[in-house]
Symmetry: C2
Subunit: 451 residues, 2 copies
């Protein structure tokens, strides 16, 4: 029986199982759901077992557990490590859900429910694909390992340590992750870049107390004036970051990379209209897709000081604050960038002010060359099933674990997503289009055969 | 009997009466004290009557009443209008008062109680001075009018209208106000300048929703970047206001005016230390006293937008806000200045942003030439009683009613204060040094004799 027929015959069974898993409210962020998170881990461990995987183990961590399983009976063949997560986002505002988040329901060929696309539904495909091959062939064409965590939605605090402590156990030739999305319906995409992240906060002080603008105004420094001057120095008038050395480790865009961005065919006019923008804005000489996918940023996320109430108040604030994050690309190192920004800040403090800088998060950027053989094989698998060559995209966001896998295991990471961009991840009415459920199963089977 | 003897003999009586008035909690800001405010008005009306004044009338307003009285039996002599207020500030935090705010108590030659110096105690001097002259001489050397309001601590909403509607009733050759302070103990001062005020708020918008800094960062405008750029354009790097025409109506400081500022003998080193400043800061070429007394300002009182919580948030804010006030001097017109700032703002909106400006308050600056005869007479009176020539000061704050009296009645305003700067106006343990109670009575009698 070919796989298409197999998956059709078992479709009801598979979706029924997935619905059962989606019914478990494994919200990792909420401590009252701790038992549910554990229940979801136990549930998937059992499924791995039933699928024919071996050495299934629930590893406890300081937070939620990590589920491991493997099937290592293809000597001389590559090893594939599948990563996914069984935890989900919180569900509020609950009243906006058309059907309850933990009562999975199919409407218009879409499976609605929290976790349906992020990431239970997508991860489930890998288990059912492996199960199918084992049932049909009694053997796998590769060695396979699963590493499934329950803390992705709370920034994976325990995963990097687990990877580092279990390097041998997790060793693989390729890491396979289905937690991203197609470009749009019918247009598969392989993510080849994720921006890194670093963040800091700045506090500017001028006096030991707020001062009356009548008695003191014009004769003392104002913390808001000082922070505005400092913050304005961070970009030039064209929006380029003015911090010395900021762009040092940003690789120039190759013609090949630019060609891939063109394929993403972003409609800038529509984007501008949808977001209610007067104009798009960014570095000269780059498209929107390039600016967000291949160029770094320094963004003010919050600025505050002084009076925020109704009307006016004649106060000279003694302090002011700014929250800053950078998105990083190429070889930019978050610690190096934080240090460069801090140096810039300390050399741009206006007269009469003192500044305190606190460094916060650090996450490396991830990039992989689309010509990497494993990515080419993934592209072939997509093309075989979807009938169209996938686009190699670069995403402006940050998924630090992708870089962590890539670095710790020294293996290429294939981000083979089957979601769609409008499936309401992290929002009410999250869903998974079952067309991609069906095609995803076939794509994974095809990919494992090609590895 | 000379006046010194007269006031000594009547001291206990006078202070007893004042204590009775201070016991009435006439807090104009709190509606639960509305009856107390009225009671304080009735009380002082009765005292004006007892002192020998005529035409005593309590004029109702939309808020608290205005008390009027006069004594117009000196044909061919100038008319003096005394202004003061019988309302007081709220008293919290109550637990910081050493004795209850409405149980007036004398300690160390100081009368403690809410309103003791601001302004019941100072106003009371004028009534007792007039009473003394009438008792001693059976006539006054001038015509005199009293205009006493109950809303000074809530920005005098009804006084300007009352002045305009009763121009004939209130017509005078000089307005006499005792609601300011000496420079320090033993060093009288006459306030010859108060800065005007205007205020506005600015809202900067870029998108119709907050955006994710991963997906959009680098490709869309950021309202915080836009407002920082705009606000930074308001001053040059030396702190001078960059708005075109801002200084057009600011008169240059004359050598005489500078000499008066020198006499205020501000200790800039001590000031810097007391306020915890890295440095004093302001327009080049001016002292602290000149910067705050004779130069205009444009101050940011509040700036806010985006995330203000703990840690970081990867948001690109869709809007940002700023609160701005200016202190004005000389011939600067608040409406003209607001218009100039608004023009500057509209011509400095960064690409991709839209701005909304809301104009708020407007108050004219007040200045009077120290050589004005009435001010010279006041100086002579002070010198006669205190043994030292008063300093002509200019205050950085704004008391809009002073300018209103000056403008509506077209008369010089003499700010003849008897408070001290450290008498805790608007704060717990407000008090009035009785040395200035005694000298104040004599100074007023002397002044009325010289007018």
């Amino acid at each position: 029986m070919n796989y298409q027929t197999y998956f059709q015959e078992n479709r009801e069974q598979h979706i029924g199982e997935l619905k059962e898993w989606l019914s478990i409210p494994s919200i990792s962020a909420l401590s009252e759901h701790k038992a549910d998170v554990k229940k979801a881990a136990v549930w998937i461990a059992e499924k791995l077992n039933q699928a024919g995987l071996e050495n299934v183990k629930i590893h406890e961590t300081e937070g939620h557990p990590i589920v491991y399983a493997d099937h290592l009976h293809a000597p001389g063949k590559p090893t594939v490590l599948v990563y996914g997560h069984y935890d989900v986002q919180p569900v509020d505002p609950l009243h906006l859900w058309e059907t309850p988040p933990f009562e999975p329901t199919i409407r218009d060929g879409k499976l609605f429910g929290r976790g349906s696309t992020d990431d239970k539904g997508q991860l489930f495909l890998h288990i059912k694909a492996v199960e199918a091959i084992l049932q049909q062939e009694k053997a796998l064409p590769v060695n396979i390992k699963f590493c499934i965590e329950g803390e992705e939605e709370v920034s994976s605090p325990n995963l990097p340590g687990f990877l580092e402590q279990n390097e041998e156990l997790l060793k693989a030739d390729v890491v396979l992750i289905s937690d991203t999305s197609l470009l749009e319906k019918g247009r598969p995409a392989i993510c080849t870049g994720l921006r890194g992240l670093c963040s800091l906060e700045v506090q500017m002080n001028t006096a030991n107390t707020d001062l009356h603008s009548g008695s003191y105004g014009g004769g003392v420094p104002n913390a808001l004036h000082a922070i505005v001057t400092l913050l304005n120095s961070l970009h030039d008038e064209k929006g380029r970051v003015s911090v010395a050395g900021f762009y040092d480790d940003v690789p120039a865009l190759t013609p090949e990379a630019r060609a891939e961005f063109v394929k993403q065919s972003v409609d800038e006019g529509k984007l501008q209209k949808d977001l209610g923008l007067e104009a798009l804005f960014g570095e000269e000489g780059y498209t929107f897709a390039e600016r967000t996918g291949a160029r770094p940023t320094l963004e003010l996320n919050g600025v505050y000081g002084g009076f925020q109430g109704e009307g006016s108040k004649t106060v000279i604030p003694k302090e002011a604050h700014a929250k800053i994050t950078c998105r990083l690309v190429g070889n930019q190192n978050p610690q190096d960038i934080l240090n460069k920004i801090e140096t810039h800040i300390h050399s741009h403090v206006p007269v009469g002010a003192t500044v305190t800088v606190t460094q916060l998060e650090k996450g490396n950027p991830f990039t992989i060359d689309p010509s990497t053989p494993m990515l080419q094989k993934a592209a072939e698998a997509y093309e075989h099933v979807y009938g169209v060559r996938p686009v190699f995209t670069r995403d402006g966001g940050s998924i630090p674990i992708v870089e962590t896998f890539s670095r710790v295991l020294a293996a290429p990471v294939v981000c083979m997503g089957f979601g769609l961009p409008d499936e309401n991840l992290h929002a009410p009415n999250e869903h998974f289009n079952l067309e991609n459920f069906d095609k995803g199963l076939l794509t994974i089977v095809d990919f494992l055969g090609r590895v």
